[in-house]
């Protein structure tokens, strides 16, 4: 018994396609190009051996992969599928650098934002202090509220115009 229509492999080999043809399920006559690539790169017997060594439920996937590899090799006779692998590896390296760079920029912005928040808080604190000081009585510079009327005025004036006040230097 044979297939009513020969598979692409048997057609290519110009032989009868038996019922139990290993290649028939995976190389239909409607796609002669698929088998042609496989035949050129791997050969009929190697392909048959490779598929026969596999359980039935894995043969379809294997046939697809073999077909893909042979097609890649026909299109690129020097590197075949390995060219695709190399290309992908290069793209991965580029993508990794770009990701690291972008994450670095995000980290910078995070740090900058935190710094800005700290500075805002400091400014608010200064405003609060400044407001408080302005509201305090001006006893040191106003003679009307001098709490030390008996102190030597010259000494007090010298103290007023000193470069320090409560330890802060100006």
């Amino acid at each position: 018994m044979s297939h009513s229509t020969r598979c692409a492999a048997c057609k290519s080999l110009r032989k009868r396609c038996p019922e139990d043809c290993v290649l028939a399920p995976y190389f239909p006559p409607t796609d002669p190009q698929r088998y042609a690539c496989v035949h050129k790169i791997f050969g009929a017997s190697n392909t048959t051996n490779m598929l026969q060594q596999l359980p039935m439920h894995l043969r379809a996937e294997a046939a697809d992969c073999i077909s893909f590899e042979s097609r890649s090799r026909v299109e690129d006779p020097v590197y075949g599928s390995v060219g695709i692998i190399t290309q992908l590896q290069e793209q991965i390296i580029t993508a990794q650098s770009e990701l690291v760079k972008t994450k670095g920029e995000i980290a910078f912005h995070n740090a900058q934002q935190q710094l800005q928040q700290q500075q805002m808080q400091q400014l608010q604190m200064i405003h609060a202090i400044a407001q408080e000081v302005e509201d305090q009585p001006l006893w040191l510079s106003s003679s009307q509220q001098d709490p030390f009327p008996n102190v030597n005025q010259q000494l007090l004036e010298d103290y007023n115009y000193s470069n320090t006040f409560c330890g802060f230097e100006f």
Partner: protein
């Protein structure tokens, strides 16, 4: 690099034949790497490899043999997927990275939009501070001879190095905004890769099936 008659190349050793001076395999299958030819022979066959090498320029043959050896090795390690398994893994890895880049860039763009506003706030607050200063912070200070009621408070709260950091960081309009809508690499077309049970021919370089 042809083997001398005393040491046949790995291919001729495997095939148990005399290694001729003009042996096409000799330059690429040295006798100290027998497994290399054994794998290639098992997967592709000697005659197919010969035909492939004869179609190439001599300077391309070494790379071709090495890539064939790699493919053969992968196929022997994984009889179902071979090289294609590795391609799938790398594709997946690349897709993951591209998604991460896309997310990171959209997060970065938020910072860059906020950055302008943030600097404005700092500048405005600093201006308010300066006005406050002029209204008379009545602290003792100044060494000069001016003895009026108001003395300016000159203390600098922001050290110089921090002031420099306040300058706007233009995260770089050095990335193309179109990258935010990430595409899979333009060099690879997904149709190249095997679709489940539906490998159709395309119009790339092909061979005559007859």
């Amino acid at each position: 690099m042809a083997s001398s008659s005393n040491s046949p190349c790995a291919a001729c050793k495997f095939l148990r034949r005399k290694c001729q001076p003009e042996c096409v395999f000799a330059p690429y299958f040295p006798p100290d790497q027998p497994q290399k030819f054994a794998n290639v022979h098992k997967v592709f066959g000697a005659s197919n490899v010969t035909k492939l090498l004869n179609e190439l320029h001599p300077h391309q043959r070494e790379d071709a043999v090495n890539s064939l050896a790699f493919e053969a090795d992968m196929r022997l390690r994984d009889p179902v997927y071979g090289c294609v398994g590795l391609i799938s893994v790398l594709q997946h890895q690349l897709r993951q990275l591209q998604m991460e880049i896309s997310c990171a860039k959209s997060e970065l763009s938020k910072y860059q939009n906020l950055g302008i506003t943030g600097h404005g706030l700092i500048a405005a607050a600093a201006n308010n501070y300066n006005h406050q200063q002029n209204l008379g912070i009545n602290l003792i200070g100044g060494g000069g001879g001016v003895r009026d009621h108001h003395h300016h408070y000159h203390h600098q709260f922001f050290p110089r190095d921090q002031q420099q950091m306040i300058r706007s960081f233009d995260g770089g309009n050095n990335y193309d905004a179109s990258l935010l809508a990430m595409n899979v690499s333009a060099n690879l077309q997904l149709s190249q890769f095997p679709q489940p049970r539906a490998a159709a021919g395309d119009d790339r370089r092909t061979i005559d099936p007859s």
